[in-house]
């Protein structure tokens, strides 16, 4: 082949440079990010995920929640994420270090879920709320386009057995017939544990200080 060696090295260089730039440099810059221990509160952030929550992460992936729900809060000035109470601050790279597969998502047919488990941001949102939302979305969020996930629940008669501790109270149109109860399966419980573990409410002092706006924001270019 004519000029075969030049061609080979050209292709090799192009691939090697992009690998070094996109992967190696990024790994060098952010690969060493670790958990941060708050010296006063003595909390470790981001908190490691519990085992049940990690199982729930797999359910989240399995059900394809990522198709309609993102997990990335944009900082101030980029959309209305903070005004919608999807977070208290924009996301940092450090928030994601516990995620083996980062479920960013790309389409927001539903709300962002990065802080779904934050009780400060969403008052009254607890496990019961998520169970109802999953079993019959219209019963808690009328008009939502979220599909129901009834297969995550067992609907069985209460006659002749002890009532379940986990039974979910569903009212309205989706309520089970009299004498039946709706009990979340293990998958539903894991998924809800995962959702409740999602909260990036801690603001890291390193990122906070480096992202502090300049005293007098400069206008125009340089």
């Amino acid at each position: 082949m004519k000029n075969g060696l030049i061609l080979f090295f050209g292709v090799f260089l192009a691939l090697a440079l992009s690998w070094a730039g996109l992967l190696l440099a990024a790994q060098q810059q952010l690969g060493s990010l670790g958990q941060f221990k708050d010296p006063v509160e003595e909390t470790i952030n981001p908190q490691p995920m519990s085992g049940v929550a990690h199982e729930g992460l797999l359910v989240y992936q399995d059900l394809g929640c990522v198709t309609c729900h993102t997990q990335q809060v944009r900082r101030e000035g980029f959309g209305a994420d903070l005004a919608r109470k999807w977070g208290t601050r924009g996301g940092y790279a450090r928030d994601y270090i516990r995620d083996q597969t980062v479920l960013f998502g790309s389409s927001r047919l539903g709300p962002d879920l990065r802080n779904a488990g934050s009780a400060d941001l969403h008052a009254g949102v607890d496990a019961e709320y998520f169970y109802r939302l999953l079993y019959a979305p219209q019963s808690v969020a009328p008009g939502t386009n979220m599909p129901a996930y009834p297969f995550l629940f067992d609907v069985h008669p209460t006659a002749g057995r002890q009532p379940s501790d986990y039974a979910v109270k569903i009212t309205g149109k989706a309520a089970p017939p009299a004498g039946y109860e709706v009990v979340p399966t293990a998958r539903a419980r894991e998924l809800v544990a995962y959702l409740l573990s999602l909260k990036d409410t801690y603001d890291y002092p390193i990122e906070k200080s480096r992202n502090a706006p300049a005293e007098t924001p400069k206008e125009g270019g340089h």
């Binding site: 952010l30 996301g91 992202n211 706006p213 340089h222």
Partner: protein
């Protein structure tokens, strides 16, 4: 064999008489020959466009890549290099609050008011703000029997915490109690706790209010 040349001749005749083919041939004859191994130069306009693009993107990069810091997400962040990170240092009071919320809060409550009739208050209490020798002894070995706190009589027991808490934890917790809820009493040093603990070596019985009132006058 004689028919073949005839056919070719007639074909060539047709081509020669076709105007469009003649035009194409004329254009090809007039076109400048391309030198083998050479390409035409890049048009100057295109070169200018690319230079402008590179210039503008470099300007953008310099303006918005804050020191190429991977942890900066805000393009309006300060462009001066940050100083050393100010990590909040936990004061003895902060540490004491933690000890208080883990241990003392059960009886004395978060507001320091105790439980009326059962556990004495710490807020505004003459005992809590009294001599440090007394409060350290109370925490180390506990207290039993009647005691008059801020003019109210109490009669219950406080558990000894000397074996549960370390010297500095006791000092910090007392510092917190003596400076919170409007209390104004000096800080308690861990060394003082260590000293008193050493003095009390061997004693396990809880104190009584009468005994303590003889100390630290």
């Amino acid at each position: 064999m004689s028919a073949e040349p005839d056919k070719n001749f007639r074909l060539e005749q047709a081509c020669a008489s076709d105007d469009s083919i003649q035009q194409v041939h004329a254009q090809l004859r007039n076109a400048k020959p391309v030198k083998a191994g050479h390409y035409p130069f890049l048009p100057l306009g295109l070169l200018g466009l690319m230079c402008t693009a590179i210039f503008l993107s470099s300007t953008y990069l310099v303006h918005y890549s804050i020191r190429f810091d991977p942890l900066v997400y805000n393009d309006h962040a300060s462009r001066e290099a940050p100083g050393a990170l100010k990590v909040a240092v936990a004061t003895p009071r902060d540490l004491g609050k933690r000890v208080f919320s883990n241990t003392c809060i059960t009886c004395h409550q978060a507001n320091g008011m105790g439980v009326p009739g059962a556990f004495p208050p710490l807020a505004g209490s003459d005992w809590a703000q009294g001599p440090e020798e007394r409060v350290i002894r109370i925490v180390l070995l506990g207290l039993n029997g009647p005691i008059k706190v801020s003019g109210t009589d109490f009669n219950s027991a406080m558990a000894p915490l000397g074996s549960v808490l370390k010297d500095d934890q006791i000092a910090h917790a007392l510092t917190y109690v003596r400076s919170e809820w409007g209390n104004k009493a000096p800080e308690v040093k861990p060394e003082t706790v260590t000293k008193i603990r050493a003095e009390l070596a061997g004693r396990t019985a809880p104190w009584t209010a009468e005994e303590l009132l003889k100390i630290g006058n």
